[in-house]
Amino acid sequence: MKKENTSSISMEKSAINFPYYPGIILSFFLLNLGGCSGSKKFLNLKPILLEREAEVNIRYDYDVIKLEAPVIIIDSIPTAFRFSLYQRIRPGELLIERVFFPGEPIQLILPRTLFSSDTLGNLAILDPLGGNYKKLEQLFTLSSVQEQVLFPFVVTLAPYVLKFFVLERMNGDPVAQAKVIVSNGGNILGFGITDSLGFARITIKRVEHPWEFLRVSIRTGGNYPPWSGNVEVSDQTIFEKTIWLGTALAKNNGGVFYKVIEDLTPLREGPENGSPTIFFLNMGDRVYVTKVAGDRLYGSVEVFTDDPNVFIDFSGWILNKFVQVAE
Protein backbone atom coordinates (compact mmCIF):
# COMPACT_ATOMS: atom_id res chain seq x y z
CA MET A 1 0.00 0.00 0.00
CA LYS A 2 1.43 3.31 -1.01
CA LYS A 3 1.20 5.96 1.48
CA GLU A 4 0.85 9.41 0.26
CA ASN A 5 2.86 11.76 1.90
CA THR A 6 -0.15 13.69 2.98
CA SER A 7 1.88 15.51 5.30
CA SER A 8 4.18 16.54 2.55
CA ILE A 9 1.16 17.43 0.41
CA SER A 10 -0.40 19.44 3.05
CA MET A 11 2.93 20.97 3.70
CA GLU A 12 3.17 21.82 0.07
CA LYS A 13 -0.26 23.33 0.11
CA SER A 14 0.62 25.15 3.14
CA ALA A 15 3.86 26.12 1.56
CA ILE A 16 1.91 27.67 -1.25
CA ASN A 17 -0.52 29.65 0.92
CA PHE A 18 1.61 30.37 3.94
CA PRO A 19 3.50 33.43 2.62
CA TYR A 20 0.21 35.37 2.02
CA TYR A 21 -1.37 34.83 5.39
CA PRO A 22 1.51 36.10 7.45
CA GLY A 23 1.84 39.07 5.19
CA ILE A 24 -1.77 40.04 5.62
CA ILE A 25 -1.79 39.37 9.32
CA LEU A 26 1.47 41.22 9.83
CA SER A 27 0.23 44.20 7.87
CA PHE A 28 -2.99 44.21 9.87
CA PHE A 29 -1.15 44.33 13.16
CA LEU A 30 1.35 46.88 11.99
CA LEU A 31 -1.42 49.09 10.72
CA ASN A 32 -3.38 48.88 13.91
CA LEU A 33 -0.38 49.33 16.11
CA GLY A 34 0.64 52.35 14.12
CA GLY A 35 -2.86 53.79 14.31
CA CYS A 36 -3.23 53.05 17.98
CA SER A 37 0.08 54.57 18.81
CA GLY A 38 -0.82 57.70 16.74
CA SER A 39 -4.04 58.47 18.66
CA LYS A 40 -2.53 57.50 21.98
CA LYS A 41 0.17 60.07 21.52
CA PHE A 42 -2.47 62.80 22.02
CA LEU A 43 -3.89 61.34 25.20
CA ASN A 44 -3.08 62.92 28.57
CA LEU A 45 -1.29 65.83 26.98
CA LYS A 46 -1.35 69.18 28.72
CA PRO A 47 -3.18 71.36 26.20
CA ILE A 48 -1.79 74.63 24.90
CA LEU A 49 -4.49 77.18 25.69
CA LEU A 50 -5.15 80.80 24.87
CA GLU A 51 -6.17 81.55 28.47
CA ARG A 52 -9.32 83.30 27.39
CA GLU A 53 -12.39 83.98 29.52
CA ALA A 54 -15.03 81.35 29.04
CA GLU A 55 -17.52 82.52 26.45
CA VAL A 56 -20.87 82.60 28.18
CA ASN A 57 -24.21 83.97 27.06
CA ILE A 58 -26.52 84.89 29.97
CA ARG A 59 -30.10 86.04 29.67
CA TYR A 60 -32.58 86.77 32.48
CA ASP A 61 -36.34 86.54 32.28
CA TYR A 62 -37.88 88.92 34.81
CA ASP A 63 -41.32 88.82 36.23
CA VAL A 64 -42.86 92.18 35.34
CA ILE A 65 -45.70 94.36 36.59
CA LYS A 66 -47.69 96.97 34.71
CA LEU A 67 -48.19 100.09 36.83
CA GLU A 68 -50.79 102.69 35.93
CA ALA A 69 -51.34 106.14 37.51
CA PRO A 70 -54.67 107.78 36.67
CA VAL A 71 -54.77 111.58 36.71
CA ILE A 72 -57.72 113.89 37.47
CA ILE A 73 -57.21 117.52 36.47
CA ILE A 74 -59.17 120.10 38.46
CA ASP A 75 -57.83 123.43 37.32
CA SER A 76 -55.82 124.05 34.17
CA ILE A 77 -54.04 121.31 32.21
CA PRO A 78 -50.30 121.11 32.86
CA THR A 79 -47.83 121.07 30.00
CA ALA A 80 -46.50 117.65 31.05
CA PHE A 81 -46.25 115.28 33.99
CA ARG A 82 -43.01 114.00 35.50
CA PHE A 83 -43.65 110.58 37.06
CA SER A 84 -41.03 109.13 39.44
CA LEU A 85 -40.79 105.95 41.50
CA TYR A 86 -38.77 105.25 44.64
CA GLN A 87 -38.56 102.66 47.36
CA ARG A 88 -39.76 104.34 50.55
CA ILE A 89 -36.71 103.28 52.56
CA ARG A 90 -34.39 104.68 49.87
CA PRO A 91 -35.85 108.08 48.97
CA GLY A 92 -32.55 109.22 47.48
CA GLU A 93 -32.33 106.37 44.96
CA LEU A 94 -34.55 107.04 41.98
CA LEU A 95 -35.88 103.81 40.47
CA ILE A 96 -37.25 105.33 37.28
CA GLU A 97 -38.46 108.72 36.03
CA ARG A 98 -40.42 109.46 32.89
CA VAL A 99 -42.23 112.45 31.41
CA PHE A 100 -45.74 112.01 30.06
CA PHE A 101 -47.89 114.49 28.15
CA PRO A 102 -51.57 115.27 28.73
CA GLY A 103 -53.75 112.68 27.06
CA GLU A 104 -51.01 110.04 27.30
CA PRO A 105 -51.77 107.34 29.89
CA ILE A 106 -49.20 107.15 32.65
CA GLN A 107 -48.20 103.49 32.41
CA LEU A 108 -44.95 101.68 33.06
CA ILE A 109 -44.00 98.01 32.68
CA LEU A 110 -41.20 97.26 35.10
CA PRO A 111 -39.42 94.24 36.64
CA ARG A 112 -41.07 93.27 39.87
CA THR A 113 -37.66 92.98 41.54
CA LEU A 114 -37.27 96.77 41.26
CA PHE A 115 -39.83 97.39 43.97
CA SER A 116 -40.02 96.83 47.70
CA SER A 117 -42.32 94.09 48.92
CA ASP A 118 -43.01 95.92 52.21
CA THR A 119 -46.45 97.30 53.00
CA LEU A 120 -46.57 100.88 51.64
CA GLY A 121 -42.94 100.34 50.76
CA ASN A 122 -42.99 102.22 47.46
CA LEU A 123 -43.43 105.89 46.61
CA ALA A 124 -44.90 107.36 43.43
CA ILE A 125 -44.47 111.10 42.78
CA LEU A 126 -46.36 113.04 40.14
CA ASP A 127 -44.96 116.50 39.39
CA PRO A 128 -47.15 118.49 36.97
CA LEU A 129 -45.06 120.85 34.88
CA GLY A 130 -45.74 124.18 33.20
CA GLY A 131 -47.30 126.14 36.05
CA ASN A 132 -47.72 126.51 39.78
CA TYR A 133 -49.02 123.01 40.40
CA LYS A 134 -48.99 121.03 43.57
CA LYS A 135 -46.50 118.13 43.59
CA LEU A 136 -48.32 114.91 44.49
CA GLU A 137 -47.00 111.88 46.36
CA GLN A 138 -48.51 108.47 46.97
CA LEU A 139 -47.26 105.51 48.98
CA PHE A 140 -48.34 102.12 47.72
CA THR A 141 -47.94 98.40 48.36
CA LEU A 142 -46.80 96.32 45.39
CA SER A 143 -49.64 94.10 44.25
CA SER A 144 -49.13 90.40 43.51
CA VAL A 145 -51.06 90.62 40.24
CA GLN A 146 -49.64 91.51 36.84
CA GLU A 147 -51.32 94.92 36.64
CA GLN A 148 -51.70 97.55 39.33
CA VAL A 149 -53.64 100.81 39.20
CA LEU A 150 -52.68 103.45 41.76
CA PHE A 151 -55.16 105.85 43.40
CA PRO A 152 -55.89 108.77 41.08
CA PHE A 153 -53.61 111.77 41.29
CA VAL A 154 -55.74 114.92 41.60
CA VAL A 155 -53.88 117.73 39.88
CA THR A 156 -54.56 121.21 41.23
CA LEU A 157 -52.76 124.49 41.16
CA ALA A 158 -50.53 125.10 44.14
CA PRO A 159 -52.30 127.41 46.59
CA TYR A 160 -51.11 130.83 47.64
CA VAL A 161 -49.56 130.79 51.09
CA LEU A 162 -49.92 134.14 52.80
CA LYS A 163 -47.99 134.76 56.00
CA PHE A 164 -48.78 137.75 58.17
CA PHE A 165 -47.07 139.23 61.19
CA VAL A 166 -49.32 141.62 63.12
CA LEU A 167 -47.43 143.90 65.50
CA GLU A 168 -48.17 146.92 67.59
CA ARG A 169 -46.84 150.06 66.05
CA MET A 170 -45.73 151.78 69.23
CA ASN A 171 -43.54 149.10 70.79
CA GLY A 172 -43.36 146.26 68.26
CA ASP A 173 -45.19 143.80 70.50
CA PRO A 174 -47.06 141.01 68.72
CA VAL A 175 -50.82 141.34 68.50
CA ALA A 176 -52.40 137.99 69.33
CA GLN A 177 -55.92 136.83 68.47
CA ALA A 178 -56.24 139.32 65.61
CA LYS A 179 -58.52 138.05 62.83
CA VAL A 180 -56.93 138.42 59.40
CA ILE A 181 -59.34 138.27 56.46
CA VAL A 182 -58.29 137.98 52.83
CA SER A 183 -60.81 138.90 50.17
CA ASN A 184 -61.14 140.01 46.57
CA GLY A 185 -64.08 141.75 45.01
CA GLY A 186 -66.08 141.30 48.17
CA ASN A 187 -65.54 137.54 48.24
CA ILE A 188 -63.76 136.20 51.30
CA LEU A 189 -61.02 133.86 50.10
CA GLY A 190 -59.57 132.87 53.45
CA PHE A 191 -58.95 133.96 57.01
CA GLY A 192 -56.81 133.20 60.04
CA ILE A 193 -56.18 134.20 63.65
CA THR A 194 -52.79 135.36 64.85
CA ASP A 195 -51.01 133.33 67.49
CA SER A 196 -49.09 134.60 70.51
CA LEU A 197 -46.30 135.74 68.19
CA GLY A 198 -48.74 137.72 66.08
CA PHE A 199 -48.30 135.23 63.21
CA ALA A 200 -51.09 133.98 60.94
CA ARG A 201 -50.76 131.64 57.89
CA ILE A 202 -53.54 131.64 55.33
CA THR A 203 -53.79 129.30 52.34
CA ILE A 204 -55.81 130.47 49.36
CA LYS A 205 -56.73 128.33 46.40
CA ARG A 206 -55.00 129.58 43.27
CA VAL A 207 -57.11 130.23 40.21
CA GLU A 208 -56.14 129.92 36.57
CA HIS A 209 -56.11 133.69 36.10
CA PRO A 210 -54.53 135.11 39.23
CA TRP A 211 -55.65 138.38 40.83
CA GLU A 212 -53.46 141.43 40.71
CA PHE A 213 -53.99 142.15 44.39
CA LEU A 214 -55.83 140.89 47.45
CA ARG A 215 -57.66 142.88 50.09
CA VAL A 216 -56.46 142.19 53.65
CA SER A 217 -58.47 143.31 56.69
CA ILE A 218 -57.60 142.92 60.35
CA ARG A 219 -60.04 142.99 63.26
CA THR A 220 -58.96 142.95 66.88
CA GLY A 221 -62.29 143.03 68.70
CA GLY A 222 -61.94 146.68 69.50
CA ASN A 223 -58.42 146.59 70.88
CA TYR A 224 -57.13 148.38 67.81
CA PRO A 225 -58.81 150.23 65.04
CA PRO A 226 -59.69 148.01 62.11
CA TRP A 227 -56.99 147.85 59.47
CA SER A 228 -57.41 147.28 55.75
CA GLY A 229 -55.02 147.33 52.86
CA ASN A 230 -54.22 145.84 49.45
CA VAL A 231 -51.38 143.42 48.90
CA GLU A 232 -50.00 142.58 45.49
CA VAL A 233 -49.80 138.95 44.45
CA SER A 234 -48.06 137.60 41.40
CA ASP A 235 -46.74 134.21 40.37
CA GLN A 236 -45.05 133.72 43.69
CA THR A 237 -46.55 130.99 45.83
CA ILE A 238 -45.46 132.20 49.26
CA PHE A 239 -46.12 135.77 50.34
CA GLU A 240 -45.17 137.52 53.59
CA LYS A 241 -46.27 140.84 55.10
CA THR A 242 -45.89 142.63 58.44
CA ILE A 243 -48.78 144.81 59.53
CA TRP A 244 -48.50 147.45 62.24
CA LEU A 245 -51.55 148.27 64.33
CA GLY A 246 -52.29 151.08 66.70
CA THR A 247 -51.17 154.61 66.99
CA ALA A 248 -47.72 155.99 66.62
CA LEU A 249 -48.52 158.95 68.74
CA ALA A 250 -45.76 159.51 71.22
CA LYS A 251 -46.59 159.97 74.83
CA ASN A 252 -44.64 163.14 75.21
CA ASN A 253 -47.24 165.58 76.52
CA GLY A 254 -48.16 163.87 79.73
CA GLY A 255 -51.36 162.50 78.18
CA VAL A 256 -53.06 159.15 78.46
CA PHE A 257 -54.17 156.75 75.74
CA TYR A 258 -57.86 155.90 75.68
CA LYS A 259 -59.54 153.52 73.34
CA VAL A 260 -62.98 154.04 71.85
CA ILE A 261 -65.47 151.43 73.00
CA GLU A 262 -68.38 152.19 70.68
CA ASP A 263 -68.66 152.53 66.96
CA LEU A 264 -69.74 155.89 65.50
CA THR A 265 -68.44 157.84 68.46
CA PRO A 266 -68.42 161.52 67.47
CA LEU A 267 -65.27 163.57 67.75
CA ARG A 268 -66.40 167.18 68.12
CA GLU A 269 -64.75 170.48 67.55
CA GLY A 270 -65.70 171.81 70.99
CA PRO A 271 -66.82 170.53 74.43
CA GLU A 272 -70.25 172.22 74.27
CA ASN A 273 -73.43 170.38 73.36
CA GLY A 274 -74.22 170.60 69.69
CA SER A 275 -70.65 171.32 68.77
CA PRO A 276 -70.00 170.22 65.17
CA THR A 277 -68.73 166.70 64.67
CA ILE A 278 -65.38 166.43 62.97
CA PHE A 279 -65.97 162.76 62.18
CA PHE A 280 -67.03 159.53 63.82
CA LEU A 281 -64.60 157.16 65.49
CA ASN A 282 -64.65 153.36 65.34
CA MET A 283 -64.45 150.99 68.22
CA GLY A 284 -60.79 150.40 69.01
CA ASP A 285 -59.52 153.73 67.77
CA ARG A 286 -56.92 155.25 70.05
CA VAL A 287 -57.35 158.74 71.45
CA TYR A 288 -54.40 160.45 73.09
CA VAL A 289 -56.13 162.53 75.79
CA THR A 290 -54.31 165.55 77.13
CA LYS A 291 -57.17 167.50 78.81
CA VAL A 292 -60.22 166.48 80.88
CA ALA A 293 -63.21 168.76 81.51
CA GLY A 294 -65.88 166.96 83.44
CA ASP A 295 -67.16 164.17 81.32
CA ARG A 296 -65.50 165.54 78.21
CA LEU A 297 -62.01 164.64 77.10
CA TYR A 298 -59.76 166.49 74.71
CA GLY A 299 -57.22 164.56 72.68
CA SER A 300 -55.66 163.58 69.34
CA VAL A 301 -56.67 160.86 66.98
CA GLU A 302 -54.72 159.28 64.11
CA VAL A 303 -56.69 158.83 60.95
CA PHE A 304 -55.61 156.36 58.25
CA THR A 305 -55.48 157.49 54.69
CA ASP A 306 -55.63 155.30 51.60
CA ASP A 307 -51.95 154.66 52.09
CA PRO A 308 -51.71 152.57 55.26
CA ASN A 309 -48.38 154.19 56.07
CA VAL A 310 -49.71 157.76 56.03
CA PHE A 311 -51.69 159.17 58.99
CA ILE A 312 -53.33 162.50 59.72
CA ASP A 313 -53.74 163.76 63.28
CA PHE A 314 -57.00 165.34 64.33
CA SER A 315 -57.78 166.91 67.69
CA GLY A 316 -61.22 167.22 69.26
CA TRP A 317 -63.54 166.49 72.14
CA ILE A 318 -65.12 163.21 73.07
CA LEU A 319 -67.44 162.10 75.85
CA ASN A 320 -65.83 159.86 78.43
CA LYS A 321 -68.70 157.37 78.26
CA PHE A 322 -67.49 156.36 74.81
CA VAL A 323 -63.90 155.61 75.86
CA GLN A 324 -61.88 153.74 78.43
CA VAL A 325 -58.26 153.87 79.36
CA ALA A 326 -56.16 151.71 77.03
CA GLU A 327 -54.02 149.09 78.74
Binding site: G38, A54, E55, V56, Y60
Partner: protein, 157 residues
Amino acid sequence: MGCLWSQISGNIHSVPEGAKIIINGQNVGITPLENFQLETGDQTFEIVLEGYVPARKLIKIQEAKSIFIEFRMKKLYNIIFTSHEADFIFVFNKVDTVKGEKNYLLIEEGEHHLEVFRKKESLEEKIIIIDKNKTIKYKLQHMQDNSRDKLDNENVQ
Protein backbone atom coordinates in the same frame (compact mmCIF):
# COMPACT_ATOMS: atom_id res chain seq x y z
CA MET B 1 -31.03 79.84 61.07
CA GLY B 2 -31.89 78.52 57.61
CA CYS B 3 -30.44 79.53 54.27
CA LEU B 4 -31.70 82.89 53.13
CA TRP B 5 -30.80 82.50 49.44
CA SER B 6 -33.74 82.26 47.08
CA GLN B 7 -33.83 80.09 43.97
CA ILE B 8 -34.64 80.73 40.35
CA SER B 9 -35.28 78.39 37.46
CA GLY B 10 -32.17 77.86 35.32
CA ASN B 11 -31.68 76.52 31.79
CA ILE B 12 -28.06 75.57 31.14
CA HIS B 13 -26.86 74.86 27.61
CA SER B 14 -23.54 74.33 25.87
CA VAL B 15 -22.35 74.43 22.29
CA PRO B 16 -21.87 71.61 21.49
CA GLU B 17 -24.24 69.73 23.80
CA GLY B 18 -23.40 66.83 26.04
CA ALA B 19 -21.05 68.63 28.42
CA LYS B 20 -20.85 67.74 32.10
CA ILE B 21 -21.97 70.58 34.37
CA ILE B 22 -20.37 71.05 37.77
CA ILE B 23 -21.73 73.80 40.04
CA ASN B 24 -19.73 74.68 43.13
CA GLY B 25 -17.91 71.37 42.85
CA GLN B 26 -21.05 69.27 42.50
CA ASN B 27 -21.85 67.34 39.35
CA VAL B 28 -25.40 68.33 38.40
CA GLY B 29 -25.87 66.78 34.97
CA ILE B 30 -25.27 66.97 31.25
CA THR B 31 -26.26 69.84 28.92
CA PRO B 32 -28.88 70.77 27.99
CA LEU B 33 -30.24 71.05 31.52
CA GLU B 34 -33.75 72.54 31.74
CA ASN B 35 -35.68 73.99 34.72
CA PHE B 36 -32.83 73.39 37.10
CA GLN B 37 -33.20 75.22 40.42
CA LEU B 38 -30.29 77.62 40.88
CA GLU B 39 -29.55 79.55 44.03
CA THR B 40 -29.10 83.29 43.73
CA GLY B 41 -25.73 84.79 44.51
CA ASP B 42 -22.22 83.81 43.40
CA GLN B 43 -22.10 80.37 41.80
CA THR B 44 -19.04 78.72 40.18
CA PHE B 45 -19.78 76.83 36.99
CA GLU B 46 -17.43 74.26 35.41
CA ILE B 47 -18.26 72.74 32.03
CA VAL B 48 -16.31 69.71 30.82
CA LEU B 49 -16.56 68.05 27.41
CA GLU B 50 -14.01 65.68 25.85
CA GLY B 51 -12.08 67.30 23.04
CA TYR B 52 -12.87 70.79 24.26
CA VAL B 53 -11.28 73.28 26.61
CA PRO B 54 -12.93 73.01 30.04
CA ALA B 55 -14.83 76.22 30.87
CA ARG B 56 -14.94 77.76 34.32
CA LYS B 57 -16.96 80.83 35.19
CA LEU B 58 -18.12 82.63 38.33
CA ILE B 59 -21.65 83.91 37.73
CA LYS B 60 -23.60 86.12 40.13
CA ILE B 61 -27.14 84.80 39.80
CA GLN B 62 -29.67 87.60 40.22
CA GLU B 63 -33.26 87.50 41.44
CA ALA B 64 -35.45 86.88 38.41
CA LYS B 65 -38.11 84.59 37.08
CA SER B 66 -35.59 82.42 35.22
CA ILE B 67 -32.08 82.44 33.74
CA PHE B 68 -30.68 81.05 30.48
CA ILE B 69 -26.94 80.25 30.42
CA GLU B 70 -25.12 79.04 27.32
CA PHE B 71 -21.43 78.06 27.32
CA ARG B 72 -19.62 78.15 23.98
CA MET B 73 -16.88 75.53 24.17
CA LYS B 74 -13.49 75.88 22.48
CA LYS B 75 -12.26 72.86 20.52
CA LEU B 76 -8.90 71.19 21.16
CA TYR B 77 -7.09 70.04 18.06
CA ASN B 78 -4.40 67.38 17.63
CA ILE B 79 -1.35 68.95 16.05
CA ILE B 80 1.84 67.20 14.98
CA PHE B 81 4.50 69.85 15.15
CA THR B 82 7.76 69.04 13.35
CA SER B 83 10.98 70.88 12.72
CA HIS B 84 14.21 70.03 10.88
CA GLU B 85 16.27 71.75 13.56
CA ALA B 86 16.66 69.74 16.72
CA ASP B 87 17.96 72.66 18.77
CA PHE B 88 15.02 74.97 18.12
CA ILE B 89 12.85 75.92 21.09
CA PHE B 90 9.25 76.89 20.37
CA VAL B 91 7.32 79.04 22.84
CA PHE B 92 3.56 79.28 22.44
CA ASN B 93 1.81 82.39 23.82
CA LYS B 94 4.90 83.20 25.88
CA VAL B 95 3.94 80.38 28.23
CA ASP B 96 4.16 76.87 26.78
CA THR B 97 7.56 75.58 25.60
CA VAL B 98 8.10 72.81 23.03
CA LYS B 99 11.46 71.28 22.03
CA GLY B 100 12.57 68.62 19.60
CA GLU B 101 12.06 67.70 15.99
CA LYS B 102 8.64 66.13 16.43
CA ASN B 103 5.97 66.92 19.02
CA TYR B 104 2.40 65.81 19.50
CA LEU B 105 0.42 68.78 20.79
CA LEU B 106 -3.13 69.42 21.94
CA ILE B 107 -3.90 73.05 21.05
CA GLU B 108 -6.99 75.21 21.55
CA GLU B 109 -8.61 76.52 18.38
CA GLY B 110 -7.74 80.10 17.51
CA GLU B 111 -4.72 82.29 16.85
CA HIS B 112 -1.58 81.48 18.83
CA HIS B 113 1.57 83.50 19.20
CA LEU B 114 4.69 81.46 18.41
CA GLU B 115 8.25 82.55 19.15
CA VAL B 116 11.24 80.52 17.98
CA PHE B 117 14.53 80.43 19.90
CA ARG B 118 17.86 78.83 19.33
CA LYS B 119 19.73 78.71 22.62
CA LYS B 120 18.61 82.06 24.02
CA GLU B 121 18.40 83.95 20.79
CA SER B 122 14.98 84.82 19.42
CA LEU B 123 14.86 83.90 15.74
CA GLU B 124 11.27 84.57 14.74
CA GLU B 125 7.78 85.43 15.94
CA LYS B 126 4.65 84.30 14.16
CA ILE B 127 0.90 83.90 14.56
CA ILE B 128 -0.33 80.44 13.76
CA ILE B 129 -3.97 79.61 13.26
CA ILE B 130 -5.31 76.38 14.68
CA ASP B 131 -8.61 75.40 13.12
CA LYS B 132 -8.37 71.62 12.50
CA ASN B 133 -6.26 68.54 13.21
CA LYS B 134 -3.09 68.88 11.15
CA THR B 135 0.66 68.57 10.88
CA ILE B 136 2.71 71.72 11.03
CA LYS B 137 6.25 71.47 9.65
CA TYR B 138 8.24 74.43 10.81
CA LYS B 139 11.03 75.95 8.70
CA LEU B 140 12.69 79.20 9.56
CA GLN B 141 11.32 82.18 7.61
CA HIS B 142 8.23 80.26 6.57
CA MET B 143 6.17 77.37 7.77
CA GLN B 144 4.58 74.49 5.89
CA ASP B 145 1.14 73.25 6.64
CA ASN B 146 1.38 69.61 5.47
CA SER B 147 -1.83 68.16 6.68
CA ARG B 148 -2.95 65.57 4.16
CA ASP B 149 -0.10 63.01 3.94
CA LYS B 150 0.81 62.92 7.57
CA LEU B 151 -2.78 62.97 8.69
CA ASP B 152 -3.71 59.77 6.88
CA ASN B 153 -0.62 57.92 7.96
CA GLU B 154 -0.76 58.94 11.55
CA ASN B 155 -4.52 58.56 11.99
CA VAL B 156 -4.78 61.71 14.02
CA GLN B 157 -8.21 61.91 15.56
